[in-house]
Structures are given as C-alpha cells and as structure tokens.
C-alpha cells in the first residue's frame, strides 16, 4: 500500500508539473521598468514620465557631410532628408506625434493670432515696458521708424500691421515664445529645426508604445531603419537619441553575453556533475529546478495577473538553488532492502536548510520593489516544488551511483582538511577576512540609479555626446508637472510654478508654457490690468500719438484702429488655439491630456515646466513640490537620492529580517553557540568577501548585488547546516563532496556570468563567484574547526 501510494504521489507530482507547464504557457510576461522601482511615489513618478511621453520619445539628429555645406544655412539635401524622414514617420502606425517642420508662413499666422489675445497675454511687467513706449520722445522715434519701415522693401506689405500695432506690442508677445525653447538650441529654417551650425536637422517623434521594453523597441528600430534607408539623401546620416538605443543596446549586450557564456556554462556544469557522479541518471538532479519552475509560475499567476520578465528570470535563478537539495539527496540516499532510504541526519539537514531558504525568500517578500516580491513568491513556490520533486524522485536514483575512481577519491580526501592540523591557521585567515569585510562594508554605498546597470554602446554614447553638443545647453532637467482635472486648473497651477520660479530668480534655461499661455486666473487678471492701463493712458496717448504720427507724414487718424482696439476686451485664449497651431511641436511636450493614473479622475491634464536640474535649483525645486499642492517635481538628481534611500532601507530590512529568522532557525536546530557560529560561518565569509571585493573594486553596490547576495546567504547557510549536522551525526566525507558539488554547480552556473559585459549580469556573476567562492571553503575547512570536529569518518 505505501509503495502504491508513493507511486500515485509521484504520478500526481508529474501531472502537476505537466499541468503547471500547460498553464504557464498562458502566463503574460511583461517588461516594465516600473517593477524595478521601490515605493509607490517613485513608481508614480515613472508613470507620470511615461504619460508625459518622455520614455516614448525618439529624436533623430540628421547630420550632413562637410562637403554638402552648412554654415549659417542648412544645405537643401539636409532639409529634404528631414522632410522625407518626417513625412514617412508621420505615416507610420508606430508613431503618434511626429515633428519635423513648421507649416509654411506660420510666423505671420502666429503673430496675427497672438495680437488678438494681447490683452489677456501681456502681464503687468509688459505694461510697464509699454508705458515706456508712450513717452513723447519714444513715440516720435517709433513713428519715425514706422514711416521708414513702410518705405523700405521690408515694409512693402506691412501697412495694415503698422496701422494696427504701431507700438509693436505683438513683438513683446513674440519675444515670450523663447520660453518654449528652454535650453534647446535650434533655429527654424524654412520651417525645419536646424542647428546653429547649419549642419544638423532635428526630427522627433513619439512612439505609440513605451520604448523601455525590448520587443516594441526592436519593432520601432526596424521601422526607423526602413524610413532612414528610404529617405536620407547622399551625404546625410542620422543619429538616434532617446530611450530606444539604450533598450536595444542593453538587450543586445545581454543576448551576446548569454550566447558567449551559456554554452561554456552548460558544458562545465554537466561535466562537473558527470565527472563527480558518473551516471546519466545523476543529471536528473539538474533538471529538478526546471521541472519545478512551470507549476511555480502557474501558481504565481494566480496572485499576479502581470508578471515582470525580471521577476521571472531572477525567480528562476533563485529557485536554481533547489538543485543543491537534489545533490545532497542523490549522494546521501542509500538503498536498503530495495528501497531508497534518506538517513535521519540528512533529513534533518534538509528540513533546517529548507526552512532557512524559505525564511530568506519570505524576507524578500517585504521588499518595496514589486519585482522583488514577485520573484520571492516565485522562488517560494518553486523551492517547495523542487524539494517535493527532489524528495520523491532523487533518492531512488542514488542506487545508480558508481564506485569512486581512485583519482576522485584522492581529490575528495584533499578537501577534508580539519584532520590535518591546519585549523589554527585557517581560523586566523578567516578572522582576517571578517575584519576586512567589516572595514569594507563600512565603506560601501548603494547606487540606486538604474543607469548604473545601463550599457550603452560606444556609438550610443558618442551619439548622445554629439546630440548634446549640437542641440542642448547645459545638463539635466527636472520636470515640474502641474496636474488638473481641467485644462484651466492645470494651467493655473502651472502659472503658480512659473511665478515661484520668477520669485526665486531661477528662470534661466526654464522651458514653460506660462508666458505664452497663462491660466484663466492670470488671463483674467491680465485683462483687467490691460483695461485699466489703457483707460488711464488713452486721454494723453491719443493726442500725443496723433502729433508724433502726423509730424512724420502719417495721415490724421492713421492709427485710429489701434486706439480703438486697445480698449476692446479680448476673449480668453484657450489651449486649443495654440496646440492646434504651428507651435504644437513645442507645446506637445509641455501640455497634454492623459488617461487617468490609478485612483485618479477619468482623464486629466498635465502642464509641464522644465527646469535645469542642478544644485542651483535644488531648493526651489524642493519648494515647488512642497508648497504647491497638485504639483510634482520629477528630478533625476532627487530621484536617484530617493531610490538610494529606499533601496538602502530595503537592503537593511531584508538582510536584517532574513538574518534574524535564519539565526533563530539555526539556534533552534542546534541549540549551541558553537554550532550556530559554525553554521553561519559560510554566510559571514560570503558577506565579508563580497564586501571586500566591492570595496576594492569601487565601493558600489547595486540591485543585482542585493538580489544575488540574498541567494548567496540562502545557499551558504545551507552549506553550514549540512556540515554542522553531519558533524553532529559523525562527519562524513560524502558531505564534503555534496557541498563541493553544490558550490561547483552554482559557480559554473552563475559564476561564469562574472565575465559578462552587461553590468547587471556581471554583478550577478561576481556576487555568486565571490560569495560562494568564499562560503564553500569556509564550509569545508572553517565550520568543522569551529564545530570542534577533529576527524572525518570516511564515506
């Protein structure tokens, strides 16, 4: 009966794996950078950046050869190329906004539009400037200038303009348009956006999908390549700027790394296992985590409808440690009376080790980072399945073990050092390592900037450097976002932002809509000030203007339309008047209607001000976020600091939580301080070695170090548990072999990634290489000494 129920259980397990595999096929996996960020506020910031279109932007800087010309005027080949690229992108379904040329004659239409709304657009500062133009001498000069202009070729068609605006009030408004450019250094030539050196032309577009995931980025890149190949004239090339090249560069680097390292990795892993165990059946132990992954993934999808690709990848990496239990079971199980039997000591070790591993993963569930929580859940499910599969399937395979060749037995005996009297020396070395770890740890800092895991190619870096040199003044910019349920409320808030920046004297390099499109409150205030200004000025202006005008040759009453017009109230300027006009390319980034964010109203409006992000603006940026409700400041500098603080707190919470629980489990398991120290010795070595290495190589930790550090804690404490349990049960050299195989398989599996080019993979590989590289010998040579074992019994 027990035999039958065992078989049924095995069948049920395999069915579970198959069902899990089937269900896992339907799981939706997504790449989303937001899953990597700690805290709701930071994820909200990134979501806001996505809504602003920042992560969807593609900039194409077209550049012509010296031979084609340049100088103050762009060569026609360059302009034609920009026109063709822009037109082709505008037709592509992959882009929703494409900016490459302002409509012909936009300047005249814009001036006419703005003139109509001068009363609500010009503010009290402008009225002061206008007051200066009304002085008798200034009027004389202006009339003289108007007369000469009208008799010059430049004034041939300007009679009506001069008649309606002899004081050039429209010019005041046109001057404010500079606020829309901010730090962008561009000139407009024939409607195209041309650099000051005349050799570059800018085309920018917004992708319909975010470009921080590799699949849409690849599709968009293919489309861009097609368009550029078709549209660029000879001697013109394009540089691609934005998140897209980074996404592709990272994705390609990872692919190249894996293609280069994985074959080597697999061969070494299989070779190590095969040489050590020497049966094909033993290779099943490697399959255990892979068999556990599909049902774990299916279970995970019950809790998370959307699974992050990052969680999936690293979750499976974490549950890879399940192979260790299979190795211990394979080597430790014995055949007795035709039945596979797991010795009591090994069962006890497995139980304690599983509990500590689960404790580590449960601690990871308390992370502020959603992807960490997901990968911990996946690892917990996967580990449970791994252990179940290993316990059910692996012990009977132990029967296939072959007798050990003499050479391998010699190597294994070499591993068993405690009996050789080197204990004192080893302990001294270990203490030195721990001291080094304490010193190193105090000098480390956490780099929460996701850019630290970015690997742009040399070409991408060169393109960005060239782009900044050509188009942008200064460095990074902060986004000050005013959100409102209506366009009016968003614009009113935006005005408060601009007023606060004005008050702080920090308008240099600011890109804002406020001077060109004030909110309704400020428009009403401007309109009232305008009315009272002209009501007060008209009685004296009328005769003074008449005198100055007729003195220059103008007809009596020539400027009556102007005088009659200034007291006419203007209608409020609505957003659509400007956004539907030629300024749209500049306004699209500064004002947009967006779908609601979670928990918000149905749709809302965002008015954005771009402010130079540096030490000189730090205090005003702080104040803006604090003092104006409804305004959010997205500053890369501040963002990095916040991520840093949150991630640092995450590390401490997780490591402290996991450490305490592991300590408690080990204490309960061994109830002896010496055994406890011996059990934790590999963990301490791993942490100390990682700290020393990180300190010697720059003193920086990132997210990958944290994740893999947790895996290393879980694995290295297992080494201690198996060794110390084995010590108490009468230390067997077989345990040395099992631990060595676990360590070797981990090192060959993940440690090889230390040679990767991508910083995330490299950090992952280095953490495992250094951590396990230190924990392994500690478990073999230090833990037995600490546990007081003098002799090892043969297998």
């Amino acid at each position: 009966m027990p035999k039958l129920s065992g078989k049924i259980l095995n069948i049920l397990l395999l069915l579970g794996v198959l069902l899990g595999g089937y269900l896992a096929l339907g799981v939706k996996v997504e790449e989303n950078a937001m899953d990597l960020l700690p805290g709701e506020a930071l994820r909200g910031d990134l979501e806001l950046l996505q809504q602003l279109g920042v992560v969807n932007q593609v900039y194409l800087s077209l550049e012509c050869d010296q031979a084609l010309g340049g100088g103050p005027t762009a060569p026609p080949e360059l302009l034609r190329s920009a026109g063709a690229v822009g037109a082709a992108l505008a037709e592509s379904p992959l882009f929703c906004e494409v900016f490459y040329r302002l409509p012909e004659g936009y300047e005249f239409g814009l001036a006419t539009t703005l003139r109509r709304y001068l009363p609500v657009l010009l503010d009290p500062y402008d009225l002061k400037e206008i007051e200066g133009r009304l002085a008798p001498a200034a009027l004389d000069q202006r009339m003289r200038q108007a007369f000469l202009t009208l008799n010059n070729p430049t004034g041939l068609l300007m009679a009506r303009l001069v008649q309606n605006d002899p004081l050039d009030l429209t010019g005041l408004m046109l001057g404010k348009l500079a606020s829309l450019r901010g730090r962008l250094r561009l000139t407009v030539q024939d409607g195209y956006f041309v650099s000051e050196d005349g050799r570059h032309c800018l085309v920018w577009a917004e992708s319909v999908t975010p470009l921080i995931a590799s699949a849409p980025a690849t599709a968009v890149k293919a489309e861009l390549d097609r368009v550029l190949a078709k549209s660029l004239e000879k001697g013109v090339r394009a540089r691609l700027i934005g998140p897209l090249p980074h996404t592709l560069s990272n994705s390609e680097t990872i692919k190249r790394d894996l293609a280069r390292l994985l074959p080597f990795d697999v061969v070494v892993l299989l070779l190590v296992l095969f040489l050590a165990l020497r049966t094909w059946q033993s290779l099943v132990v490697v399959l255990i985590p892979f068999l556990a992954a599909p049902p774990a993934l299916a279970l995970l999808s019950l809790f998370y409808p959307r699974i992050s690709a990052m969680s999936l990848g690293f979750g499976i990496v974490l549950l890879g440690s399940g192979a260790d239990y299979a190795i211990h079971l394979y080597l430790g199980a014995r055949m007795e009376n035709g039945r596979a039997v797991v010795p009591g000591g090994l069962r006890r070790s497995l139980l304690v080790a599983s509990l500590t591993t689960f404790a580590v993963f449960i601690a990871l569930l308390f992370s502020h980072v959603p992807s960490h929580r997901q990968m911990a859940t996946l690892a917990i499910f996967g580990m449970a399945f791994s252990i179940l599969l290993a316990v059910r399937l692996v012990p009977p395979l132990g029967a296939y073990q072959k007798s050990e060749p003499a050479a391998l037995a010699a190597v294994r005996r070499l591993l068993v050092v405690p009996g050789r009297g080197w204990g004192g020396l080893l302990l001294a070395g270990w203490l030195l390592l721990l001291i080094g770890g304490v010193v190193g740890w105090s000098r480390l800092h956490y780099n929460g900037d996701l850019k630290s895991m970015d690997t742009p190619t040399a070409e991408v870096v060169a393109d960005e450097r060239e782009f900044l040199a050509t188009w942008a003044k200064g460095g990074e910019q902060a986004f000050v976002v005013a959100a409102g349920a209506t366009p009016e409320t968003a614009l009113d808030l935006n005005d408060r932002v601009y007023a606060r920046l004005t008050e702080a004297g920090k308008l240099t390099g600011v890109q804002s809509l406020a001077p060109v499109l004030p909110g309704p409150t400020r428009q009403a205030r401007n309109g009232a000030a305008w009315q009272s200004f002209w009501t007060a000025q008209l009685p004296t202006l009328q005769p003074a203007l008449e005198r100055a005008a007729t003195a220059q040759g103008f007809a009596p009453g020539a400027f009556a339309p102007f005088l009659a017009g200034v007291t006419q109230p203007a209608p409020p300027l609505s957003v659509t008047v400007l956004t539907d006009g030629p300024l749209h390319p500049f306004l699209a980034a500064l004002f947009r209607q967006v779908p609601a964010v979670a928990g918000g109203s149905e749709r809302h409006y965002l008015a954005t001000t771009l402010v130079p992000d540096g030490p000189e603006t730090a205090s005003v940026l702080d104040a803006l976020g604090r003092e104006i409700p409804g305004v959010r400041v997205l500053s890369n500098t501040r963002w990095r600091q916040q991520v840093d603080v949150l991630m640092r707190s995450d590390i401490l919470t997780i490591i402290a939580g996991a450490g305490l629980v592991v300590l408690l489990i080990c204490f309960l398991a061994f109830r002896n301080a010496r055994d406890l120290l011996a059990t934790l010795a590999p963990v301490l070595s791993a942490q100390a070695a990682m700290a020393v290495f990180a300190w010697l190589t720059g003193g920086e930790l990132n997210m990958m170090h944290l994740l893999m550090g947790i895996l290393v804690i879980g694995m290295s404490v297992d080494y201690g548990i198996f060794i110390v349990t084995a010590c108490r049960e009468g230390l067997s050299a077989q345990t040395f072999l099992a631990i060595s195989l676990c360590a070797l398989s981990t090192l060959s599996g993940f440690g090889v990634l230390a040679f990767a080019v991508h910083p995330a993979l490299r950090a992952l590989g280095l953490t495992v290489l250094i951590g396990i590289g230190a924990a392994w010998p500690t478990a073999l040579w230090i833990s037995p000494v600490l546990a007081g074992v003098k002799k090892v019994k043969p297998c």
Partner: protein, 212 residues
C-alpha cells in the same frame, strides 16, 4: 435676330473661346520663356528706380528714389538715395541692411521669414524667374506686355490683391512694378536708365554703407 443668326453667333463665340484659351496659355509660356532667355543673357545690370507709395495711413503719396544693382545669380543691392538713404543687400542666402531706422544688421533668409518674403519678391521682379512664383501666384499675361500676379494662398491674398509687372517690350526688363494691397493701398516702383552687363565691384554687395 432670327434663330439661324443666333446659332451662328453662339458657334462663333464657342469657337473663339475654345481656340483662344490655349493660345493665351501658350503666349504666357512663350512670354516667360522669352523673359528667361533674355534674363539669361544678362549677367548683371544697374538701374535707377523711383518708389511711390500711396497708403491710406500716409497723409500724401511718399516718393523715394534710388539705385538697383544686380549680379546673377543671387546678389542684389537695393539702395535708397533720396530723401533718406538706406541700403539692403542680398548675397545668396544672407543679407545686410543699414540706414536710418534700420540699424546695420545681417540676416539669414532661411531664418528671417519677413526678409525671405521680401527677398523672394525683389529677386523675382528683377531676375526674370517668374515661373518660380507659379506655386504662390496665378500668372496672367496682359497688354504692355505685363504680368499680373494674383496670390493663390488665402494668407497672402488677405492683404495682397495683385502685383503687376510691366516690361519694356524690347529689352523685356521690368520697367514698373505695381503692388495693389487689399483695401486700396498701392505702391508703384518704376525702373529706368538700365545699364546691362556692367562690371559691378564686389564691394557693392558687401559694404553696408549707403552711398558707398
């Protein structure tokens, strides 16, 4: 008038209309070809001009006079000498202007929309490349011979009614340009004393000093 006579007259009118249309179109084309051919033989010229502006906002017509120098393909000097001296120079895609009321300054035609419009007009009147205007203006050939340019686009048509360029029948050089604005304002520029293919010193198109 009996029915047969009426039929005859209508047929005649129809025939005239049908045949006259291609003849007129061809004449315009021929005329433009002749102007272009003549212009191609003129590497440079200098002439005097007189500009008379009749604007509603002026108390009386205002007359300015000056000299025009042109060197193909793209250099032009438009100089007022009386009553107030001022100067406009176009050299390729750049230019300079100076004089009272217009401080000495350089400009780029690609970047300055007003100057681009002005330069386009001046060059077309003086260069003979009227076909270049076909996108923006409807062209009609009239007696004189003269070309009537009517703006096609709504924006320009809102303030410009038409431009009439009257040519010398022999030299095919423009002798008068009339600019009729919407609302009745009118400008007439008359050109005289043409000197064809003179040697023009390069300094004429670089030094921005009226009267230099």
């Amino acid at each position: 008038m009996n029915r047969t006579n009426l039929k005859f007259i209508l047929t005649l009118v129809a025939l005239v209309l049908l045949t006259a249309q291609p003849v007129l179109a061809e004449s315009l084309d021929d005329f433009l070809t002749r102007v272009e051919a003549r212009a191609a033989g003129t590497k440079s010229f200098a002439c005097d001009f007189r500009q008379e502006r009749r604007l509603a906002i002026f108390a009386k017509p205002v007359v300015f006079s000056g000299k025009l120098f042109l060197a193909r393909p793209d250099r032009l000097r438009w100089e007022f000498t009386s009553p107030i001296a001022s100067l406009l120079i176009l050299d390729g895609k750049t230019g300079r202007r100076c004089g009272e009321g217009s401080p000495a300054s350089e400009f780029n035609l690609e970047r300055d929309p007003v100057m681009r419009l002005v330069a386009g007009q001046l060059r077309t009147w003086t260069n003979g490349n009227y076909r270049e205007l076909l996108g923006e203006f409807g062209l009609e050939l009239a007696a004189g011979p003269s070309l009537i340019l009517k703006p096609r686009k709504e924006g320009l048509a809102s303030f410009l009614n038409r431009i009439v360029v009257v040519f010398d029948p022999d030299s095919l050089q423009p002798v008068r340009v009339e600019i009729h604005e919407e609302g009745g304002d009118r400008t007439v520029i008359s050109f005289s004393s043409y000197r064809l293919n003179p040697e023009l010193a390069p300094a004429l198109f670089s030094a921005c000093r009226p009267g230099s």
